[in-house]
């Protein structure tokens, strides 16, 4: 961690709960990443207020226009406003990112706690997880789209399925070491019930690494959605997402590269800042940094 003049300290309560060292400081880069991400998220949430046009409104007279006052980023092949489409498209991309992260982390946490604590469940669960891991996310998505049609739901399910085993492995490994801690054995001796021990004494140990993992899942989900849409397997073109805006723009790439450039730029910045925040969280929560606490 660099100590710069623009550094900020996380609030003591949160820091304590996550087991952060007292006085841990953030550098300027993570702060910038957080601000950038906040701006992108807010802009997409309030797309209906910010967008100058309806993202779906066709305007044959304004096809492939360069940027102007009326169309700040220009228009696409159907005369739709690119800025409006990118803002609305962010809604879908971010929803998939956050949705996939939230669902896979919560399901993975529950399964991982059980697998880590109960030896007999461990064998069965981990073999199933190994099987899940053998299926590539993109392949699974292709299959799901073939069965259910392209939808946000299919995409989230496909991503979630491939991420759950990773979360389970992470949680399980933490629980395996934490359950040997004397305070867990003390809780057993105090007659605390197993579900309570899992929730009260073991689950908090997994939170910090899970937060880090969640940022990576979120970033990779946004990318996978873009890949799927780009391949034409994602969400239908009637709903703009960063991926399918780029997929459509591909046809006119030589004519008008900005159709790919803008959604691509936002996508990259978004994934980059999420990854930076994840790295920062990992550094802060590193046990080697925690040891320095006196």
């Amino acid at each position: 961690m660099t100590q710069t003049s623009g550094s900020t300290a996380p609030s003591p309560g949160i820091a304590r709960f996550l087991g952060l060292p007292a006085g841990a400081r953030l550098g300027i880069v993570p702060v910038l990443a957080a601000i950038l991400l906040a701006v992108i998220v807010l802009a997409t949430i309030f797309a209906s207020l910010l967008a100058p046009h309806d993202p779906l409104a066709l305007s044959p007279l304004n096809r492939l226009k360069p940027p102007s006052a009326a169309f700040p980023l220009g228009t696409d092949a159907f005369g739709r406003d690119l800025l409006s489409r990118v803002l609305y498209g962010g809604q879908i991309s971010l929803m998939i990112g956050l949705g996939a992260a939230a669902i896979s982390v919560s399901i993975g946490l529950a399964i991982g706690l059980v697998a880590g604590f109960f030896r007999f469940a461990d064998m069965v669960i981990m073999r199933v997880m190994d099987a899940f891991m053998a299926i590539p996310a993109v392949l699974l998505a292709v299959a799901l789209v073939a069965i259910h049609g392209a939808s946000v739901f299919s995409v989230i399910v496909a991503i979630t399925f491939s991420e759950i085993p990773r979360v389970v492995r992470l949680v399980r490994s933490i629980v395996l070491s934490a359950r040997e801690e004397p305070y867990v054995e003390a809780a057993i001796a105090l007659g605390t019930r197993m579900p309570v021990i899992l929730w009260r004494h073991l689950m908090p140990n997994t939170l910090a690494p899970l937060i880090v993992q969640a940022t990576y899942i979120c970033a990779s989900a946004i990318l996978i959605e873009a890949i799927l849409s780009f391949l034409g397997l994602g969400i239908g073109t009637e709903t703009p997402s960063w991926g399918n805006i780029m997929a459509e723009g591909r046809t006119y790439f030589l004519l008008k590269p900005s159709l790919i450039f803008w959604p691509g730029l936002l996508l990259s910045l978004c994934v980059l800042s999420i990854n930076i925040l994840g790295d920062t969280a990992r550094d802060l929560l590193d046990p080697r940094m925690r040891k320095r606490e006196v």
């Binding site: 004397p182 001796a189 009260r200």
Partner: protein, 559 residues
């Protein structure tokens, strides 16, 4: 056998290490604080200087400063000087210090397993020291490695040379460390608690090895320890440290016979005596804990692999009566903790039976077992890990009683009262474990156990991680609680001194079996088994009564 302090004179010997008014500052967010305050000491050729003090007294810091290993940025030398021979160490560059480490000064640490590289053959690790310092041929280097390995009395050096650290015992690993430290014949050897992690019998061998090599090479030894017994065995000169200062420096005999400083006296008074406590009248009531031919077998391997079995406990039988303390002593791997964990049903015994009060809990299913858990509680060794770091003290203390249906208000009131009993104020309820010292945390852990109003407390090495003065207080607390509440204590320890102070009866375990069982008086004063005798003989400083500053004439003379 009477104790003999070393009495060699070093008036004529030349100074090897000379620390003069060394001060070290710790810079924290709250500002700078002196952690070492004008520390001065000399060590001469062939002398063993012991640096004693409790945790946080600055003894390890002093040694790290000498080695030039202070963590940069956080700790800073503000004044003073350190001279090794004619060299002023504080003015040397990192590279120069690097070259001096190993050749002119070297260090051995407490835990040889972590100090050695786990993926490198130990012989090659010793060879590495030679490689980085001398221009010897490979054959010569190997011969020197074998020579030093023989000097530290390693068996079958050809085989040990090729072994990895995990294949050796703790004592052998420490011998390797010593070989590495001494192969270049440095003038100064710093030993930072080198025997603390070892069993007493191994400790005795390592201590005599260090003295033997010291005589051969004339090395000056700076020996850091918290154990007064060890000090009495090896020290020529003793420096007592407290809060970053040296409060007393004296030749060993003088320090033990007539300690001058109050703190030294307090430190010596806190050393538990090997003389067992006065026996209490026999307890007529029925046992609260009745363990009969308890056994535990660990098996490894399994599916498609060869099964290997290890008998961790075998035919262990004892009874514990209300208000009494039964000690289980033994070295690491003797199975004493296995017995404790079986009794707590944290692990399931393989055979035998455990009766708690009038219930046989050996194979009790989880639900019924949970209902019986309030009758038996455990206090662990490491106070830093036995409390959940994320939960307030109040939550830890009320967890148990609330499991058994007590209301939150009542449990909190109860917890407040208990904290006072264990000597902490009610403010502690709103604090987190990291805000307390090790001793205070151990008190909280004891309060948590007592909150359940158990019949039996299992204390698994409960005072082993504590400084002697704190150890003394915690033992007194356990005794008071036992007297007032009539709790029976199953006391697991490797420390015969502690066992002598608190136990009515003692079981000695070796390799999972009970080798001797009797009253503390019988076992510790007139042991019948050879292993018990070996344990007692290995206890450092056993011929000296530290509190009374005089020799002990051992009754029941077997020695």
């Amino acid at each position: 056998m009477s104790i003999r302090f070393k009495t060699a004179s070093f008036e004529q010997a030349q100074d090897v290490l000379c620390i003069d008014k060394l001060s070290i500052e710790l810079s924290t967010t709250e500002g700078a604080r002196n952690v070492l305050d004008e520390v001065s000491l000399q060590i001469r050729r062939g002398e063993t200087a012991c640096l004693v003090g409790e945790s946080g007294s600055g003894k390890s810091l002093t040694s790290l400063a000498v080695m030039g290993l202070l963590p940069a940025g956080v700790l800073k030398v503000t004044s003073g000087s350190i001279r090794l021979g004619d060299t002023d160490l504080l003015t040397r560059s990192k590279r120069e210090l690097q070259a001096m480490r190993g050749s002119r000064m070297s260090m051995i640490f407490q835990e040889p397993m972590t100090a050695l590289n786990p993926v490198m053959r130990v012989g090659d690790q010793i060879l590495e020291v030679l490689k980085s310092h001398g221009g010897l041929s490979r054959g010569d280097m190997r011969r020197r490695v074998f020579a030093i390995m023989e000097q530290v009395h390693l068996p079958d050096v050809e085989r040990v040379y090729r072994a990895f650290p995990h294949q050796l015992s703790g004592g052998q690993r420490q011998r390797i460390m010593i070989a590495m430290a001494l192969i270049l014949e440095p003038a100064l050897l710093i030993a930072d608690e080198p025997t603390t992690a070892l069993d007493v019998t191994t400790q005795k061998q390592i201590l005599s090895l260090i003295s033997e090599l010291q005589r051969q090479h004339g090395t000056a030894v700076l020996f850091i320890t918290h154990d007064m017994g060890v000090v009495s065995e090896i020290a020529d000169t003793v420096h007592v440290m407290r809060q970053g200062r040296i409060v007393e420096t004296a030749p060993a005999a003088q320090l033990f016979e007539s300690p001058r400083h109050d703190y030294t006296q307090a430190l010596l008074r806190a050393v538990p005596s090997l003389q067992p406590r006065a026996p209490r009248p026999a307890e007529p009531r029925a046992p609260v804990l009745d363990v009969a031919s308890l056994g535990k077998t660990y098996s490894s391997g399994g599916f498609l692999r060869k099964q290997s079995e290890k008998r961790a406990a075998d035919a262990v039988t004892f009874q514990l009566r209300p208000g009494r303390t039964l000690g289980i002593v033994g070295e690491s791997g003797s199975g004493k903790s296995t017995v404790a964990r079986c009794v707590m049903r944290l692990i399931d015994p393989s055979d035998g039976s455990i009766r708690l009060g009038d219930t046989d809990i050996t194979h009790l299913p989880p639900r019924q077992l949970r209902a019986r858990r309030e009758k038996i509680q455990i206090v662990f060794q490491d106070p830093y890990r036995s409390l959940n770091p994320r939960r307030k003290i109040s939550s830890s203390l009320i967890e148990g009683p609330m499991n058994f249906g007590m209301s939150k208000d009542q449990a909190l009131a109860n917890a407040t009262r208990l904290l006072e009993i264990v000597g902490l104020s009610a403010d502690a309820l709103d604090c987190y474990p990291h805000q307390f010292s090790g001793g205070q945390r151990q008190r909280i852990a004891i309060a948590r156990a007592v909150a359940m109003e158990p019949d039996v407390i299992v204390a698994d090495e409960a005072v082993s991680a504590l400084d002697v003065s704190v150890q003394d207080q915690v033992l007194k607390l356990l005794e008071t609680l036992q007297r007032d509440l009539g709790i029976a204590i199953l006391f697991i320890t490797h420390d015969l001194r502690v066992a002598a102070q608190i136990c009515d009866d003692v079981i000695v375990m070796q390799h999972g079996r009970v080798v001797e069982h009797g009253t503390a008086q019988d076992v510790l004063v007139a042991p019948s088994h050879a292993y018990t005798r070996a344990l007692i003989e290995a206890a450092p400083g056993r011929g000296w009564d530290f509190a009374a500053c005089r020799e002990i004439s051992l009754t029941g003379a077997h020695a």
